[in-house]
Point group: C2
Chain length 514, copies 2
């Protein structure tokens, strides 16, 4: 019996060693990719592609190593299996899931997809610049076909109802198109109702506040101040973070080495302010994972949706609140000299909360943002099973933008080609953006009942209690649960659109005085 237990332990440890190897190579890929976006001399791209391809191959071999199958089945068959802890079982489950999925996808399909991704992204850039969807169309068709094939295979492996569900599951485990359809339908109605109220309100935010010129160096100092507020340490001798500058903001990293980027525009302070808060939300999640679980499958964040709930929490629920700006507006004024001297706090907060339907997702306000996401989801839901074709995409896209947002798309670069996701083959990714917002509303609602004073504490710049709550309830739980299970543990209820809509309605009734 003791010897049997020893075998189990030794097999489990071997499995965790293999997990550690794979995670380590994954973090190398992250750094190498971050370097590519931020520091690499332009000429280095060919060598970098070679490096990334080789690392991908090494990683793929690690996670499909046949020894993993042996270890997994020995562990599962062992009489001591049932006595493993919840964490250990979850680790075994997660290794099994990755192994099954990765081994069932034929290497030919994986390689072809990787190549077609690179080609499609390249052509997408050119087609976008040329405003010519017909250039992009054949490449999008190819990558879509490859992802459909993957979806069909993964549907069997994962046992999902549809191929699209299998693709969604990659980004948001166990989430289904059916559930998303339901919650998005309610979300859409609620958002459009709030949008109408804002649009017809007599009180409108003042224009011309956020496009005032702020020098780059001042904006950089403001970014550091925001980082300090979030306790995202980028300066001290024990710092575990960085802020860099790229065309499009992003976050990458793992535990003690997490990095965010932003983009500074002299006449668009909001862009850097809210991207720092957004990416900072991602960053503090990654930094606050449970250190004992580092390198284990459970030592990861829960899902893209949960990650987005944190970035949106920091960006919007905190960063666009009147309470936060009561604290931060004097600091901003101090840094920016006379720029905002004649602008009241209320006028400033209203202007950062202006609602205005627009064509571009990444520039959207809080009320219309999810409508952009819903449009993409509705299209994907029809595209994957082949109910609509790639050729029809521009017309369908433009029609939905007219119906949901009331905007007229003038060309496909500001329309169907605005985002890179589909070129990369990331079908099933978009819904997580809106799910994150929905989760953030439920998280907020529970936090308000647990910490009734958390928001008024923001007025004195105190985010500590709230961060601690998020850490306890979300960050330290790592990847121990699938997202819907974690949501139940955190919010005490299944997915529910109401708290998010109530939060928005309450805020915007103040902003627009409706």
């Amino acid at each position: 019996m003791a010897q049997l237990a020893d075998t189990l332990k030794s097999n489990y440890d071997k499995l965790m060693d293999k997990s550690k190897d794979a995670v380590t190579i994954g973090t190398v890929q992250s750094i190498i990719s971050w370097d590519m976006e931020t520091k690499m001399p332009p000429k280095g791209i060919k060598l970098r592609s070679q490096q990334l391809a080789k690392l991908s191959q090494i990683l793929h071999r690690m996670i499909t190593d046949p020894e993993i199958e042996t270890l997994l089945s020995d562990i599962r068959k062992h009489t001591g299996y049932e006595h493993l802890s919840e964490q250990q079982k979850r680790n075994v489950y997660l290794v099994r899931k990755t192994y099954d999925e990765q081994t069932k996808l034929p290497e030919k399909l994986v390689v072809e997809t990787a190549k077609q991704q690179a080609i499609a992204v390249d052509i997408w850039k050119k087609a976008k610049a040329a405003k010519d969807f017909s250039m992009f169309k054949p490449e999008l068709e190819k990558i879509l076909e490859l992802r459909k094939q993957a979806g069909d295979i993964l549907k069997e492996v994962k046992g999902t109802k549809t191929s699209y569900d299998a693709l969604i599951d990659i980004f948001e485990p166990k989430m289904t198109s059916e559930t998303i359809s339901e919650v998005f339908s309610e979300l859409r109605k609620g958002l459009i109702s709030i949008l109408r109220k804002c649009q017809s309100a007599s009180k409108q935010p003042k224009a011309g506040i956020l496009d005032r010129k702020i020098p780059f160096d001042i904006q950089r100092l403001i970014s550091k101040e925001l980082a300090r507020f979030m306790e995202y340490d980028v300066d001290s001798p024990t710092a575990g973070g960085r802020i860099d500058e790229t065309e499009h903001p992003f976050t990458t990293g793992y535990y003690d080495d997490v990095r965010i980027t932003t983009h500074y525009y002299e006449d668009n302070l909001a862009s850097s302010l809210f991207s720092i808060l957004h990416e900072g939300g991602h960053a503090i999640y990654d930094q606050s994972l449970r250190s004992e679980w580092m390198f284990q499958p459970i030592g990861d964040s829960c899902s893209l949706g949960f990650h987005e709930s944190q970035s949106r929490f920091l960006e919007n629920i905190v960063g666009r609140s009147r309470e936060f700006w009561q604290y931060f507006y004097p600091k901003l004024k101090e840094r920016t000299g006379e720029v905002f001297s004649a602008v009241t706090l209320d006028d400033f907060v209203r202007s950062i909360n202006q609602v205005k339907p627009s064509k571009i997702r990444v520039e959207a306000d809080e009320v219309t943002y999810c409508l952009h996401v819903i449009i993409r989801f509705e299209i994907e839901r029809d595209l994957i099973p082949g109910n609509i074709s790639v050729a029809e995409l521009p017309d369908i896209w433009n029609e939905k933008y007219r119906d949901y947002l009331g905007v007229k798309i003038e060309n496909d670069s500001e329309g169907v080609m605005q985002d890179t996701h589909w070129a990369s083959g990331y079908f099933g990714y978009f819904p997580t953006y809106a799910l994150g917002n929905i989760y953030s509303g439920q998280i907020l609602s529970k936090m308000e009942s647990d910490l009734p004073h958390w928001k008024s504490e923001l007025e004195s710049g105190n985010f500590k209690a709230a961060k601690q709550w998020l850490t306890q309830n979300i960050y330290l739980r790592g990847n121990l649960y699938d997202p819907q299970e974690l949501l139940r543990k955190v919010a005490g209820e299944p997915i529910n659109v109401k708290p998010y809509l109530e939060y928005l309605d309450e805020k915007y009734s103040w902003v627009y005085g409706y």
Copy 2:
């Protein structure tokens, strides 16, 4: 016969694929290490060590893959082997060399050495800060013992006369302690003679020129100007280089992605000027290798000695010449406002060529620099065979500094513990620094006869012809030859100290007017 040739080709191609994989992982290590020195948040060190250890293991397995042995012996036995090109044979030779050396070192010794390196470097830092050699002594003894063991094994593999020769061969293939002893003995005499002449000259460079305050941003602009002069592109949309800032300057990179660092001190312009030129010399070598050979063993630089010959060529032969400053001094004056307005060109050039025996190698002038290196070589030559012990090092060190340089070492931090090399187990490395200087003299001499006007062209900032000459004669030859063979091809003669001493004597007779 056709089929046999096909087998040879296919085996050779497989071998080159394996070389490509190994080189690729090597370049990943470089980027990851560069990031560690320049950008990594301090907290990331633990994760970074894990990444580097894993990459080392992957690389070690790649270059000791038993399939390499099969491929190599099949290629060698093949009747078509003799018809392989010179490049192909050299590639086979270099893969064989690495394979034999790496497989003969027991994995236990390799792992123990890696661990002890990390420990010894860590303790070295602490001991240096505490000025306490007794702290460092046991760790240095351990790493020395491990390197002796490696030397003993490699002596058999490489067939060198001594274990120390086997260690030297790692850094400067085929170079021997015997040859180094001979040339260093002549070098030492020559340098001491020039040093005496400088010291007793009535004309001495003016003091107080190089410690004038130059703001960091101005120094950064000057660095970019120096890079432009060398055609080390760091700014254009097709740039293949970078300049960053670290405590100690270094160069890393491969072909299209090469990176140098420097350190700016407000009151020490010379430090950034000459480190940019020095590292720039390394960088243009790495950037100018033959692109068709990329990822092959021959697509590498020749040796550490040859690399150093290029960094010293740019730093000293070009960068401390009156001709270069005739071009660059007006630019420097333009950037620095009034700082040098009362300093003549000649006074400036004399001040950057001041000779003054000092305690620290990296701060040494051109005349005394190699004396620092010779001291280290003489010590290593006795240390590896056990003629002297680690305990005796401080006394021997201090005595030699008194005898060769006439300086009194006050403590071991400015003495035997000043450099990190021995803590890292790099015995056999130091001689390459002086060998590089000797090579640079021979290269200069040949260049002068091929391009009589190269130096006067520097007066108008034209380095093109000289760079082209270096590219043709050295850079494009990659690792096709061992260093002594390359030297013969470039300079038309075996290693020879005279040209370097003549160059120094001629320059310093002008500087000191002796």
